[in-house]
């Protein structure tokens, strides 16, 4: 009788150890507090929207970013840090998804907070239907690490040139009109 009880107890304890050992600790994303959270790279306030991203380090520290481009800049600058998991948001539902499982779309006309022009989707189908509707190129998580992560400055430059040409003309015209008014 005594042996039987001891045996059961031992089995229970052992099985508990086994269960505890097998279960990998799940790392969950931390909710964004719009009032106090700021991007670790560009220092802008992080809104709880479809562009927010997050990194959780192995020591439990979490960082939020307002644009996935800022997250990749942080990873580049902090290669020595051990990342436990990273999260992005689904473009439509704005729910957190693991960065590794997400599908991404890059297109220059997509407006994101820091002009890196990359958005994320839970489902590849949703990403594809976004591309079918608006254009852009589909990226996987693996491809993102080779992405150039350049801000859309080319567009800014193009626009400045364009603006210089027609803005200058308008400016002159307007000044002339004003000088007429003042006389």
């Amino acid at each position: 009788m005594k042996h039987k009880l001891l045996k059961t107890l031992l089995i229970t304890i052992l099985s508990l150890f086994v269960i505890a050992g097998c279960g990998k600790k799940e790392i969950k994303p931390v909710a964004i507090n719009e009032k106090t959270d700021k991007c670790d790279i560009c220092h802008m306030a992080v809104k709880n929207n479809q562009f927010a991203t997050e990194i959780i380090l192995e020591n439990g520290k979490s960082m939020v970013f307002d644009d996935i481009g800022c997250m990749y800049k942080w990873m580049k600058e902090n290669k020595d840090k051990k990342i436990a998991n990273s999260f992005v948001k689904d473009y439509d539902s704005k729910e957190w998804i693991e960065a590794e499982t997400a599908s991404y779309v890059y297109d220059k006309p997509i407006r994101t907070p820091m002009a890196y022009n990359v958005i994320s989707f839970t489902d590849k189908k949703d990403a594809q239907s976004f591309i079918d509707k608006n254009g852009g190129s589909l990226l996987t998580y693996d491809k993102l690490s080779n992405h150039s992560w350049e801000k859309n400055e080319e567009m800014v430059k193009e626009m400045k040139e364009k603006m210089k040409m027609d803005g200058g003309k308008d400016g002159m015209k307007m000044d002339m009109e004003h000088s007429e008014d003042s006389h």
Binding site: C42, H43, M44, A45, A115, E153, M155, G167, D170
Partner: protein
């Protein structure tokens, strides 16, 4: 019988009131459409409950009590084309309307003056607007959207604009050569928010009680002068002026006071910061990774900590006045012989573990800082700090002086009263 009379009276009242509004609704857009170019349409007092589109060069002028109510998803006023003028108009937003702006503009050479926008989601949306002028505009928002939102809009001027309770007072993206003069932004997230916009001029603006007075990111050749960035201290990340990725710009003669951090500057190069006053901030200035900037003739007064800095290279920092610096002038040239540097130790420590900020100026921390001295080349140093604050008389707010004299007189008067009534009468 009485009930019948009452009902009749009510029906007449409703038809009269309703009729007036219906008349305005039905006719305003068609009246506008019928106008020749350059015509002036004077709007009478009343509530206009219709989304209006102005496509041709006309002048729309209201009077006191001319109110546009925007309850639909469309903007109350949509302005396109060129040379549209809008004067003396008030726009009141609806709680229901979520997505739209009070006024949507595109095109060029528009003039907007004396406009009041209240309770709208977004104040004015400028989409590819050029060479337009905005004057004497008041926007009171609902904190969720921006006062002015500029996208690819260039060569515009914004003057005498009063904005409060919005997300960002002025938000601009890819919008170059815009001028902001004499505007006031209070109780919002960011006063001025510059994103990837070059050649911006901001002068004599006041940005107070916001999360950040001016958030300047991604700009070249911009000028910020004579602005007052004050009391931006309510948020844990608050600062007067934030410069990130700012190059070849000028920041001069600004008064940056009572903020959590006066000026935060990072990843910026080739800027000139001259003659600014940083006073009564928790941290006067915080500088990270700055290169080839000139920081000269500024005054750092009564800040809890004058400045913190990391990784500065090739900056010219001289002739600033630091009231916390140890000064010694042996040759009488008005400049201290002792250099003044910001030790990056505390900043590095708190970057890694922000709660260590609790140990700010803790004796143990000071000891550690002295023991683990950072190498000379990493220090951001003013080699010739000024002995006297030369800015003292330059930036002296008029209002403060008036308050000072008022308090003096009040105290003299109170003392006289005490002397007169309080003495022992024999």
């Amino acid at each position: 019988m009485r009930v019948v009379v009452k009902l009749f009276f009510m029906a007449v009242m409703i038809s009269l009131l309703g009729g007036k509004e219906a008349f305005a609704e039905a006719s305003l857009q068609s009246q506008i459409n019928a106008l020749p170019e350059g015509a002036v349409l004077k709007l009478q007092e009343g509530i206009y409950d219709e989304a209006i589109v102005l496509k041709r060069p006309i002048v729309l002028e209201g009077e006191k009590g001319t109110i546009f109510k925007s309850c639909s998803s469309k903007p109350a006023l949509t302005i396109t084309g060129k040379n549209v003028s809008l004067k003396h108009i008030k726009i009141v937003g609806c709680q229901k309307a979520e997505s739209s702006s009070a006024i949507y503009l595109s095109g060029k050479q528009h003039q907007l003056e004396d406009i009041t926008i209240e309770g709208s989601n977004l104040g004015m949306k400028l989409d590819e607007v050029k060479n337009s002028r905005f004057r004497a505009i008041t926007i009171t928002g609902r904190t969720k959207a921006n006062g002015f939102d500029l996208w690819e809009s260039h060569h515009n001027t914004f003057e005498g604009i009063q904005i409060d309770h919005v997300q960002d007072g002025f938000y601009m993206e890819n919008s170059h050569y815009n001028t902001f003069r004499g505007n006031t932004i209070n109780d919002s997230r960011y006063g001025l928010h510059v994103m990837f916009s070059d050649n911006i001029t901001a002068s004599k603006n006041v940005s107070a009680r916001n999360f950040t007075g001016a958030m300047v990111m991604g700009t070249h050749h911009s000028v910020f002068e004579d602005n007052q960035l004050i009391e931006n201290n309510q948020n844990v990340n608050a600062q007067g002026l934030l410069l990130f990725d700012v190059h070849d710009s000028t920041i001069r003669h600004n008064r940056i006071s009572d903020n959590r951090v006066g000026m935060f500057i990072e990843d910026s190069s080739g800027n000139k910061m001259v003659g600014n006053e940083f006073s009564a901030n928790f941290v006067g200035a915080q500088m990270n990774r700055i290169e080839k900037n000139v920081i000269k003739g500024n005054a750092f007064i009564s800040n809890v900590n004058d400045f913190q800095a990391t990784d500065g290279t090739d900056n010219t920092i001289q002739k600033n006045y630091w009231d916390a610096a140890l000064k010694l002038d042996t040759d009488g040239d008005g400049m201290s012989n002792l250099a003044y540097s910001a030790d990056p130790f505390f900043l590095h420590l708190t970057m890694e573990t922000p709660p260590y900020q609790l140990f700010f100026q803790h004796p143990g921390m000071m000891l550690l800082q002295k023991m683990l001295k950072s190498p000379e080349e990493l220090l951001v140093t003013d080699k010739e700090p000024l002995m006297k604050n030369e800015l003292k008389n330059h930036i002296q707010p008029e209002q403060q002086r008036t308050i000072f004299w008022f308090i003096c007189l009040a105290m003299i008067f109170a003392s006289l009263l005490v002397i007169y009534f309080g003495r022992k009468k024999t």
